[in-house]
């Protein structure tokens, strides 16, 4: 298997006589969930729980993320809601629409990238191209589009569709969609405007191009009615672990991520994306691999573990904690678990029966507060074994000694990519992924707000700087510049052979 360029760089660095490590820069994004990512985060004492529609909340966080020199501030989106989110992810029940929210933030920030999530399955390319290009104008080159093809199949019912469409349908559409959107972004060359008051020449018509797209799904004439934007092409994010999703990320994304929760998974994903990017003719180093991560930060490791335990104690389990109210087998996590599978397991599946499915071992006869016995070794499915390891890492407790089934059940219910620790342990974790080529950085999320956000900014970011991993100042002013990307030339400037007029 081809090793990534990053790993090559690191091994080169080790031979470097200066001892300076020319490692790839560490990138940090912040994903805004108004109530945090822990299913019970909103119930934590002092935690925010009612500010989803309060502009001061997200504006304040974005401004502080900018002061901490984060690469970007990230707004997620879903096109349907459901009652189960009341117990799994209260941040997504009802919230602001991302384009309007991002545009509101535009002139209240100066440098930080702003990511908007939008689903091509339910958008028109012409509308989306206008929204993204316009956002790039008002942010002066800080706009980004997180391309999702559908985290919630219920969206179809809100869009007069009979069905959500399978992955192939959605990715076929998404691929044609993004290619068309890139053409629309380019349809006005950078110097199409003349605006000569003397002569009265306002534009140079030869630099405005119909796109004349005639594809399988879309027929769009163009040109766009928005000038080419400061970044040319806003930054593209894409997440997902399916085959089509990895291919899409490798071809189109500037930032890629997936619901990885272990270093092995992370490395595998990063290596594969870079290999595929190379196969697609791209420089694999152009892609930043930034998995989602919820760092549960305390002043010390012990304090962090106390917070984690308290959060879990606020997490509602099924009344019948042995079997719950539903058939456990009906619950299957979506293959494209977005946002680092940060979503908790819904009520009805928060019981030992559901846990048994994950473990590959029937534990329904166990007392929930019994210590997990050493005898389980060798009897668990791989995913179950990983779950127990994760539970020990998060709680600091030990199998056969003090780790209980309740601890394991909470780990299962809470899910996500969580690391519990003081500033040193969190920085170690981030550094280890970075050094191993599993991540170029992370999309940071908070278990609850604002305390956990502040703790990361105030305790962990300075530690990352001390280690020389993270920037102290922005070097550029656009999102592309934060990622070390150049501004692409217009497709129409590159290829003058194209039939330009309508």
């Amino acid at each position: 298997m081809t090793v990534s360029k990053k790993e090559t760089n690191i091994s080169d660095a080790k031979k470097n006589s200066s001892g300076e490590s020319p490692r790839r820069a560490l990138h940090l994004g912040y994903m805004y969930w108004s109530n945090g990512t822990h299913p019970a985060g909103w119930r934590y004492p002092g935690a925010e729980h009612s500010r989803a529609f309060d502009v001061d909340h997200f504006v304040g966080l974005a401004q502080r993320a900018e002061a901490a020199k984060f690469d970007f501030f990230f707004f997620g989106d879903r096109l349907a809601t459901g009652a189960e989110y009341g117990y799994t992810n209260t941040s997504v029940i009802a919230r602001l629409e991302p384009f309007t929210t991002a545009a509101y933030l535009a002139t209240l920030t100066k440098t930080i990238g702003i990511v908007v999530t939008a689903n091509p399955t339910y958008y028109e390319p012409f509308n989306l191209a206008r929204l993204t290009a316009s956002l790039d104008h008002v942010t002066k080159g800080r706009a980004s589009w997180n391309v999702v093809t559908g985290a919630d199949p219920r969206a179809a019912q809100n869009y007069s569709r009979l069905e959500h469409g399978d992955a192939n349908f959605r990715y076929d559409r998404a691929e044609e969609f993004i290619d068309l959107v890139r053409s629309l972004w380019d349809s006005w060359e950078d110097d199409a405007f003349i605006r000569n008051k003397e002569t009265g020449e306002f534009v140079d018509g030869s630099k405005i191009h119909a796109v004349n797209h005639d594809g399988k799904t879309f027929q769009v004439k163009g040109p766009l009615n928005v000038a080419r934007s400061p970044q040319g092409h806003p930054v593209i994010l894409h997440a997902g672990s399916s085959e089509r999703s990895r291919q899409f990320a490798a071809r189109e994304a500037d930032v890629a991520f997936a619901g990885v929760a272990t270093l092995t998974q992370g490395r595998q994903y990063a290596t594969e994306i870079r290999c595929r990017a190379t196969e697609s003719g791209r420089d694999p180093d152009e892609i930043s691999i930034l998995p989602g991560l919820t760092p549960l930060v305390g002043a010390t490791l012990a304090e962090a573990r106390e917070i984690y335990d308290e959060l879990n104690s606020l997490t509602i389990l099924d009344e019948d904690v042995r079997f719950g109210g539903r058939e456990p087998s009906a619950w299957t996590r979506g293959a494209e678990g977005l946002h680092g599978s940060s979503e908790g397991v819904p009520l009805g599946y928060r019981n030992l029966g559901s846990l048994s499915q994950r473990l590959g071992l029937d534990v329904t006869e166990e007392s929930i507060d019994a210590v997990v016995p050493l005898e389980i070794e060798g009897r668990l499915a791989p995913a179950g074994s990983q779950l127990v390891i994760t539970a020990t890492q998060r709680t600091g407790r030990t199998v056969g000694l003090n780790l209980t089934w309740r601890d394991v059940l909470y780990t299962y219910v809470v899910g996500g990519h969580v690391v519990v620790g003081g500033p040193t342990e969190i920085a170690d974790y981030i550094e280890s992924w970075h050094a191993a080529g599993a991540a170029d950085g992370f999309i940071i999320q908070s278990a609850f707000l604002d305390e956990q956000f502040d703790a990361f900014i105030d305790l962990v970011v300075p530690e990352l700087r001390r280690r020389g991993l993270f920037r102290s100042e922005y070097e550029g002013s656009t999102f592309r510049e934060h990622l070390g990307l150049t501004r692409p030339q217009s497709r129409f400037t590159l290829d003058q052979g194209i039939e330009v007029s309508s």
Binding site: A40, W42, R43, H49, S50, F53, V55, L79, T81, G82, A83, G86, T90, V92, I93, A94, L96, E97, F99, T100, A103, Y104, A106, T107, Y122, Y123, E124, F126, N127, R130, L131, A133, S134, H137, R154, Q157, N158, Y159, S160, R195, K197, F202, V203, G205, S206, I208, T217, Q219, V220, L224, N225, V226, A227, L314, I316, A330, W331, T332, R333, S501
Partner: protein
Amino acid sequence: MTRFSDDDPNRQLHFGLMFWATGTHSAGWRYPGSRADGAYDIEFIQNMTKVVERAKFDFLFLGDRLATDPAMATTNPAQMSRLEPFIAGSAIAAATTHIGISVTANPTYYDPFTLARLLASLDHLSKGRASWNLVTGADAIAAANFSRDEHWETEKRYDWADEFVDSVRDLWDSWEDGALLRDKESGRFIDESKVHAIDHHGRYFDIAGPLTVARPPQGQVILLHAGTSDRSRELGAREADVIFAAGPNFDAAKEYYSDIKTRAASYGRHASEIQILPALQVTVAESTAEANRIFDRLEELRPQVVAPVAGQKSREGALGQSERASSPRGLIGNPIEVADYIEEWFVGEACDGFNVFPNYVPGAVEAFAELVIPELQRRGLFRREYTGTTFRDHLNLATPPNRFAGRDRSTTLPIAASR
């Protein structure tokens, strides 16, 4: 003869600003001191809005079209290329506190769910200042940008728009106030009895709902509509809070005004619930002679030949070919003359106010704000201060009751049956 406003002694003028970044005159961008490159300068746009907010305008109007053509450079440069209005409107919301923000969107090329989200969200962000200018699409060539074989004829566009508006209103109401419990003690975040699937199954749309956005601060976002066709008048009379009318002359405007208010009454609406605001292309200066000089200068600057630009073949139905080959002179005068005109139309019930078209920016906007508004305030025709903070407040409209509130139909949120 009965007047529509007989029972409304405190009736006041309402003003909107039609914001075109290069002015509404096709040569406005060439006028000395005007901005030729303001269309993508969001700080400039925010500042223009602040000028009319200080003048206590009701709203800023952001137009939109869904197609463009380089030929518009000579006829209509402001509409040729500009910021998408939801993006501009949201950025304006961040820099202003009182003025209403009206965003144009065409249901023919939108989905109700997406548009309901955008508008509800803008209403939250602006703390109750959002408005939707509903257009059904004058540009036949928009179809070519939306994978459509043809631009629908009027009847179909209005059938679609009628169902669309009703769905959007349902979606805005799908979360009752108080639906978000956020009870830390019990761990209950939502009161499911106050969240409603809308279960809309109509001729054009099937929408389960609920919306993913809480009920907007205004309850129902302010609706604008313009048009002269019968279908348009019906839609406006039934649904719109503000009608943006053309009104070429006083008599025609008065007839239109009367027609709309009479139609509105047939839908059980009071005349004061619907404001009719014709376009007012106005050139104002300290003296009449100076105002005339300004307009003459603008006309001199108008590009004389409307020719396709080199390399561009003209096409049937292209934008800009037939528009504004010559513009009417509009209203030209000193502040007293302009205020007289406005007062005459207002008192004569030809309008409830105007949507002001500035020929060039920022100069023409500043002139109207500084010269005309104080005169109208002096005459007691226009507010000196905002009396509320929402667009609804400016129009003296109460927040409408929620369509679903108290309904015994216990529709609850859908539970994910399988994933």
